[in-house]
Symmetry: C2
Subunit: 227 residues, 2 copies
């Protein structure tokens, strides 16, 4: 009847509260089992199973069998981007969940956005890289400069292996809390993994909050100074 892609199908998928909860939980980046997701969504395993198969059919999540568990994850960066975009919009209209608990400030400070760092610290990192011309921004594309390549290599990131992956190395992603860009793409993922691996930070149990250790925070400030 009308031209263009069909919005309503995916929107309807996200539009159910239980499914929205599931997707929000998966924004934390880690794959979760069906029962864990049922718990997060506040429904029984049967119901969650039905929702998950619909999400899978719609191409929003991926499933991976492992023993008697089935792990679900978002099917890609683009899903995360759509969700963040919706969150940002919802926040701008004041549509927040009833219980915005004490976690909220921590969530704004540093959180995981699917698989990379978001929140204030994510934005700080992005700005710091941009100010020192370690990354360059043309239009929407973000690229690593020559100095940038050296910099991230010094941080112990193996660019060669990252560039073998089809996903773009750098992408910018918009924050719902700060409304500014932070770094996504394989490099964004690799940096977050590095924070974990070197004990700069760890992820809170089942939540999107990322907490930096005192030492980790100092190292972060050294690595990503604000001008």
């Amino acid at each position: 009847m009308k031209e263009g892609p069909d919005i309503s199908q995916i929107a309807a998928l996200i539009g159910d509260p239980a499914r929205a909860n599931i997707l929000t939980a998966l924004m934390a980046g880690q794959a979760l089992t069906a029962t864990e997701l049922a718990l997060q969504a506040g429904v029984t395993p049967q119901t969650a199973s039905s929702h998950l198969s619909k999400l899978q059919l719609g191409g929003l999540v991926l499933m991976r069998k492992q023993g008697r568990h089935r792990y679900f994850s978002l099917s890609g960066d683009d899903v995360g981007a759509v969700l963040e975009n919706l969150m940002q919009f919802a926040a701008s209209r004041g549509l927040t969940r009833v219980r915005t608990g004490p976690k909220d400030p921590a969530l704004r400070a540093a959180r995981v956005c699917y698989n990379h760092l978001a929140g204030d610290m994510g934005v700080t990192m992005f700005d710091s890289l941009a100010a020192r011309k370690l990354i360059g921004i043309d239009e929407d594309a973000v690229r690593l400069t020559e100095q940038g390549r050296i910099f991230v290599s010094d941080l112990g990131i193996e660019l060669d292996s990252l560039e073998k992956i089809k996903r773009p190395l750098c992408r910018s992603c918009l924050d719902w809390s700060v409304r500014r860009s932070h770094l996504a793409g394989t490099l964004g993922t690799a940096l977050l993994d590095m924070f974990y691996a070197n004990n700069w930070a760890k992820r809170e149990q089942e939540l999107r909050v990322v907490t930096f250790s005192r030492n980790g925070r100092e190292r972060f400030n050294v690595a990503f100074p604000v001008s």
Copy 2:
């Protein structure tokens, strides 16, 4: 139950086919009456009325009474951005409407994205401005350079009046068809209006397609050359 903004409400609003049709129709940028929208959505006026009040309550559309007509329009650029984002995602998953008519190529070439030019020509314009450093891009923000100010003034656009409006002068917006940036914001709107006013282009009846006249196309190519 969970932290963060509530996605499901807005997603549910967009998730109904009739409402999605209404919103897609409003992406054309012009305000439409309730009955026109009912026609576009393929439902009776009563049903459309119900949908429209819901959309209004959700903050997605605005209503303005004029005589015995009620004109509806998207409530802001951000709504358009969310919709375009969803379209892009839907297109990437191959979720296109059944009847992708002969208008499709024209739609990709030049169309209206809420209130500014999108499609190939929109991207061309954006690239041309950026290549000649008439606009500068930092992070996600787009700003008009000094040369840029002179350039658009020469095109007959009054920057002073534009800058009195609260909306940002320049914004970048992502295409679902081309997946690259084009220019939004009040300047994007003003440029499109200028195309109309000088008969470079006109909008097709009730559709998002923008057709340039032969003369208009030539002038466009002169104003926004590709490097």
